[in-house]
């Protein structure tokens, strides 16, 4: 790309300070941050000053800014749908939207329709889906032609501040720090929180699960995991999927693993912690003879790769897969809703 694309960022939270700004700094030949907007917190001005960008308190200023080619939506999830639609209709060349695309099925269709109608390139911040190691794991799977017999997703996350320190000297922030533990005895609240955890946390890996098990069928179990987490078992395309995630106050380094069992192999894909840039996930394969092969990590991580994907779309070297993006979003929503329903049903 001859001239860096102008990026306007909606949102100025830790995801911008510790994730997207350091990531874009690694792609400076392709992207230049030109405007950052917050919701009135004042953080945008501080962040914008560091990168020589303009700032505002109003997200619509980003969409209206003629120097903005790419609108990066890093705001709270409930705002995503409206911001995607508005940016597409205003003629943004491309949109980068953090997960989830929208909070409802109607919202997903509306956002996708707006982008498709205007030919707006769209990338969702599902960094694990873009991680080069996932492509390698999929390649291994397709090459072996062994049917998938099960998938397990395992997460354990200490506070993000540990990883923020690796990429920014901003004062540490952790959204979960100090937050009171939910009242899990309130089963309606538990159902709602588990739904939110599926859409906010498990959503990182559900597009990967969908790659292998696209047809969601039913939830077999769902429950909360104290202090804040959930465990959901579901069947998709006849394949059992076990998913467990918990946010912890400290302790061991982050665990973020997708394990695929086929008729012949077990494949572990171990993703690095969020925010950091130390290469891709690591893929380890144990085959039928008991041989264990660990593939080296790529230099690029999923964050870099998702912005590269956006470059590719803007350059016209690939087309946005609107239907795939919509299907990923619906898949997550279907599982989140079914998990919440299961908890309500068990309580009744």
């Amino acid at each position: 790309m001859d001239v860096p694309l102008g990026v306007g960022i909606i949102g100025a939270g830790p995801g911008v300070a510790a994730l997207h700004l350091p990531t874009l700094a690694r792609r400076a030949e392709a992207f230049r941050v030109v405007r950052i907007a917050d919701g009135g917190s004042g953080r945008a001005a501080r962040l914008a000053e560091r990168v020589g960008a303009a700032s505002s308190h109003e997200w619509r200023d980003v969409v209206a800014d003629p120097s903005v080619d790419v609108v990066a939506i890093c705001s709270p999830p409930d705002a995503h749908e409206e911001q995607v639609v508005t940016a597409a209709e205003a003629g943004a060349r491309a949109i980068f939207c953090e997960k989830p695309l929208a909070a409802s099925r109607e919202g997903i269709e509306r956002a996708i329709d707006a982008c498709r109608r205007r030919g707006t390139a769209l990338v969702i911040g599902t960094n694990h889906l873009h991680d080069p190691a996932w492509g390698r794991a999929m390649h291994h799977h397709l090459e072996r032609e062994a049917p998938v017999r099960g998938i397990t997703v395992t997460l354990a996350l200490p506070p993000n501040s540990r990883y923020h320190r690796a990429v920014t000297d901003d004062p540490p922030t952790s959204p979960s720090a100090g937050r009171p533990a939910p009242d899990w005895t309130d089963r309606e609240a538990a159902a709602a929180i588990v739904r939110q955890l599926v859409l906010g946390l498990a959503v990182h890996d559900l597009p990967l699960v969908r790659d292998l098990a696209p047809g969601f069928e039913r939830v077999v179990f769902a429950r909360e995991i104290p202090p804040i987490g959930c465990s959901v078992g579901f069947i998709a395309s006849g394949i059992p999927v076990s998913l467990a995630a918990v946010m912890l106050p400290g302790g061991a380094d982050a665990l973020w693993r997708v394990r695929i069992a086929t008729a012949t192999d077990e494949v572990d894909v171990d993703f690095p912690p969020s925010f950091v840039h130390r290469g891709s996930a690591v893929v380890t394969v144990r085959d039928a003879a008991g041989r264990v092969v660990t593939h080296p990590a790529d230099d690029d991580d999923g964050y870099i790769a998702e912005w590269r994907a956006l470059e590719t779309l803007v350059a016209g070297w690939a087309d946005t897969e609107y239907d795939e993006i919509a299907a990923d979003a619906r898949y997550a929503l279907d599982i989140a809703d079914a998990a919440a329903d299961w908890i309500r049903r068990e309580a009744s």
Partner: protein, 246 residues
């Protein structure tokens, strides 16, 4: 004093030779530690006067019928479960876990005992038996003794392939156990804020380990293998396709 051991199985005879100051081989079952191949041989050994029994093929007992047969024994029972070595490092970790994620990949014939061994690891890590809560289609949710989530996924592999067990206990301290090679010890990794350490390999053969425990039982040590296996079999029973959904 050396304890007489009646061990028709070659591997156990080697184990006797590897305990030269505490065990001595004998062909007379009366008053001896008797090694039997299968759970079906337990009653006979008891009737012939065994002082303690080692069941060499723990898989033969990994069923409701098998555990019923064990429960009828009036002498101490050691059940050899090489995938579940009770003196392994992981059993010493007393951290609080938020959840345990279990994957079992096994051929159809090995499925029940592999699942029971995986349940055994979770029981050891959580310090008590598991209670089935829901399950269907190769998935199960169980509650740990303090209400911890135990999520299980079981899948079928090609016949003849060794089972693969992955048990991951997750909290501020994590314990990951990979077990399943026919004679290989489980690989145990313990991770906390200071990093990961791998538990030392137990170099002792599974047979010597089982026999040593039987000798300890004769000396008065309490052995709970039969009750533990019964608990593990009950926990595993909910996994194999029994629909029990909310």
């Amino acid at each position: 004093m050396k304890v007489p051991v009646c061990a028709p199985d070659a591997a156990f005879r080697i184990a006797v030779a590897e305990l030269p100051t505490s065990a001595t081989p004998t062909r007379d079952e009366r008053g001896a530690v008797v090694v039997v191949r299968s759970v079906d041989d337990v009653a006979g050994a008891v009737a012939r006067g065994a002082s303690a029994i080692v069941v060499a093929d723990g898989a033969s007992a990994a069923s409701a019928r098998g555990t019923d047969l064990l429960a009828a024994s009036t002498v101490p029972l050691v059940i050899s479960r090489p995938r579940l070595r009770r003196d392994d490092e992981a059993a010493l970790v007393t951290a609080a876990f938020s959840y345990v994620s279990i994957d079992v990949a096994a051929a159809c014939a090995e499925r029940a005992d592999a699942a029971a061994d995986a349940m055994g690891w979770a029981r050891e890590l959580l310090g008590g038996p598991l209670a089935p809560r829901a399950g269907a289609g190769g998935l199960a949710l169980l509650d740990g003794p303090r209400g911890e989530a135990v999520a299980v996924r079981i899948s079928e592999t090609a016949p003849g392939r060794a089972a693969a067990l992955r048990i991951e206990a997750v909290g501020e301290v994590r314990v990951r156990i990979d077990a399943g090679e026919a004679r290989g010890a489980a690989r145990i990794a313990i991770t906390d804020a200071a990093g990961t350490r791998i538990a030392p390999t137990p170099w002792e053969s599974p047979e010597r380990h089982a026999l040593r425990r039987a000798l300890a039982a004769v000396a008065g040590e309490r052995i709970t293998d039969a009750a533990d296996l019964a608990a593990d079999v009950r926990a595993a029973a909910g996994i194999s396709g029994t629909d029990n959904e909310a």
